[in-house]
């Protein structure tokens, strides 16, 4: 076990450069590029004097390295500035909205994994069959689908035509009571509070956006599962397992799938990148009160502190997710542990 622990520590250390890069880029994006933040903060009607004052107050009259140091200091204290549109500290806004985004992303990912892996396995075990062909069409179509468009199509079919889904307006409809916040995930909070009606309402609101995100990420995962299963199924140890008379399901699941999952886990990193980006678009379509729609509102209003906070949060989340995948990989695959 200490070996696993050491591996985890090593991975944590290896993520540090990424985090540093993210912090530097976020700083550069908001401070060092053309465009005058002071003018934005002072507003369009401000006199040159007022702009100068704002510049001083924001510390923008100092040199870039100085600004960077004070930026680091603020970050270390968890400060990300104040949003002009909401008047709240960006940190509070983001913390309040983050669970909504996380709940949506995780639900979409879970949905994608539960569909993609069986689909990929089925396609790989019967290459050339209709299921293989349809899996291929689905996965090529999946990467071509603009998420905002699939979202709208689902709304049209399931809300307008069939009336199965509630209106695409946020996480809960007006009639449901919000459960007391414990985790911020409405599904879990409502279960903890024992409110079945709220749980159903929240699940109904979550279904379509999660399905949209899921559809989008099924494609790369199914494709990878299929390719890697095909490789593993033709390997010697699977042949041996078959020849030894093991049952079909044992060969498929215990022998083949466990080995085939490793490259799939690696693909997850790429899928996260797409998923977090797609999240922004899906939040806009479904008026989901997450950090994506928060950033869009801020972007449209040229309110930069929230955008900066949003990019930083997303990037740190992405680095964190990749780290998790790495650690998971080390735990699943004993070979990685030995190398480490």
């Amino acid at each position: 076990m200490p070996r696993t622990l050491r591996l985890i520590l090593r991975r944590l250390l290896s993520a540090l450069p990424s985090v540093a890069a993210v912090v530097v880029v976020t700083f550069v994006l908001t401070r060092a590029l053309p465009g005058d933040p002071a003018a934005y903060f002072a507003g369009p009607a401000a006199t040159p004097q007022a702009v100068e004052e704002v510049r001083k107050r924001l510390g923008l009259d100092r040199s870039l390295p100085e600004q960077f140091l004070s930026y680091l200091g603020e970050l270390a204290r968890g400060e990300m500035g104040t949003s002009l549109t909401t008047g709240q500290p960006v940190r509070d806004d983001i913390l309040a909205r983050l669970p909504a985004s996380l709940e949506l992303t995780l639900a979409g990912l879970l949905l994608a994994v539960t569909v993609a892996i069986p689909l990929g396995v089925a396609a790989a075990t019967r290459p050339g069959s209709w299921i293989d062909h349809s899996a291929r069409v689905v996965s090529t179509a999946g990467v071509s689908l603009p998420v905002f468009f699939t979202g709208l199509l689902l709304v049209y079919v399931f809300y307008y035509l069939l009336g199965w889904a509630p209106a695409p307006m946020g996480r809960l409809d007006l009639f449901a009571t919000t459960p007391p916040t414990v985790t911020g995930f409405l599904l879990i909070d409502s279960l903890l509070a024992g409110e079945g009606a709220t749980f159903r309402a929240a699940a109904a609101q979550l279904a379509l956006p999660a399905l949209t995100l899921g559809l989008f990420s099924v494609a790369p995962l199914a494709r990878m599962t299929r390719a890697s299963m095909l490789g593993v199924l033709s390997s010697d140890f699977v042949r041996t397992a078959r020849a030894s008379g093991l049952s079909r399901s044992t060969v498929l699941v215990t022998y083949a799938l466990r080995n085939a999952l490793l490259p799939v886990v690696t693909t997850l990193g790429m899928v996260f990148s797409f998923l977090l980006g797609a999240n922004v678009l899906v939040e806009k379509v479904f008026s989901w009160p997450g950090i994506g729609s928060y950033a869009i509102e801020a972007l449209v209003a040229s309110d930069y502190a929230p955008v900066q906070g949003f990019i930083l949060t997303m990037a740190v989340m992405y680095v964190g997710l990749n780290l998790l995948v790495d650690v998971l990989y080390g735990i699943i695959d004993p070979r990685v542990r030995i190398e480490a």
Binding site: V25, G35, S144, L145, V155, Y159, F274, I296, V307
Partner: protein, 281 residues
């Protein structure tokens, strides 16, 4: 040459989808070149008396909330969308392949610096980084191109580096060196033409992604401003009418966008089959 043609014909016969994709590509090209001339109506002319009309013989794709003809807008939008993605892909191809070839060829510090740069870009969820770049540089169409180019850059660097590495010790490179060619000449005239085919596959696959990315950015209100016709912004305009049942406003631009991306992706797969039969999946 005849062998190549025969192979292309074989691939097309084996996979008719590639042929369809190629046809779609020609259609997109035609619309991009002649869209404004072919469009039946002025894409900006509003006619409030005929607002939100469902598809009919006069307006095949219906009309939007200002009574503008959606078919004409979709056709005219093709040029802008193709321009944005083509410019973005060209930028990332140019910078990415030069950087990647240099990294693969010279190794050492050059490679370390470049891979640091690539890792930095890849440390962000790409769409989010694009949002940040557009926010920082300013909300214009040109900056959408720059942002899309930046997020695609890593793929070209990685590919060019890998392909260069694989050929560094190849016989024809040795021969070129023995023939007295300098680094620049070897890279430009011997190595680059050799890695071009796999890079072109990447370009084709990337075109689809670039269109999606640009449309996504304009969907959230970045870059292209109304009333300019552009697929992403048209879907955004139609989004509010979906809940009241006016499906055609968002459906047609969205479908065309999807078909364009689909077409580039299939074309990329088909090109890969033509160039390298071993990679066929």
């Amino acid at each position: 040459m005849t062998a190549t043609l025969r192979h292309i014909r074989y691939v097309l016969a084996e996979n008719p989808v590639t042929g369809v994709a190629f046809g779609g590509f020609l259609l997109i090209l035609l619309l991009a070149l002649a869209g404004p001339a072919l469009a039946p109506y002025d894409p900006l002319a509003s006619d409030t008396a005929a607002a939100l009309q469902p598809p009919s013989w006069a307006h095949w794709f219906g009309t939007d909330h200002l009574g503008r003809d959606i078919l004409s807008r979709v056709m005219v939008a093709t040029r802008l969308d193709v321009q944005i993605s083509l410019a973005a892909v060209a930028l990332s191809f140019a910078f990415g392949s030069v950087a990647g070839v240099c990294a693969g060829w010279f190794g050492g510090t050059v490679e370390r610096v470049l891979s640091r740069l690539v890792d930095t870009i890849m440390a962000f969820p790409l769409f989010v980084l694009a949002m940040g770049v557009v926010a920082a540089l300013g909300n214009t169409v040109g900056n959408i191109v720059v942002a899309t180019a930046i997020i695609n850059f890593p793929f070209y660097v990685r590919m060019a580096r890998a392909e260069t590495n694989a050929r560094r010790e190849a016989g024809f490179i040795e021969a070129a060196r023995l023939g007295g060619n300098g680094d620049a000449r070897i890279l430009g005239f011997h190595l680059f033409p050799n890695i071009l085919p796999p890079m072109m596959v990447q370009v084709s696959l990337n075109m689809g992604y670039a269109i999606l990315n640009a449309a996504g950015l304009s969907f959230i209100g970045l870059g292209v401003r109304p009333p300019t016709p552009e697929w992403g912004i048209m879907v955004a305009e139609g989004a509010s009418y979906i809940v009241s049942g006016e499906w055609w406003v968002a459906l047609f631009p969205g479908t065309v966008l999807m078909l364009a991306v689909f077409c580039f992706n299939l074309l990329g797969d088909g090109l890969r089959d033509i160039i390298d039969p071993r990679r066929r999946t």
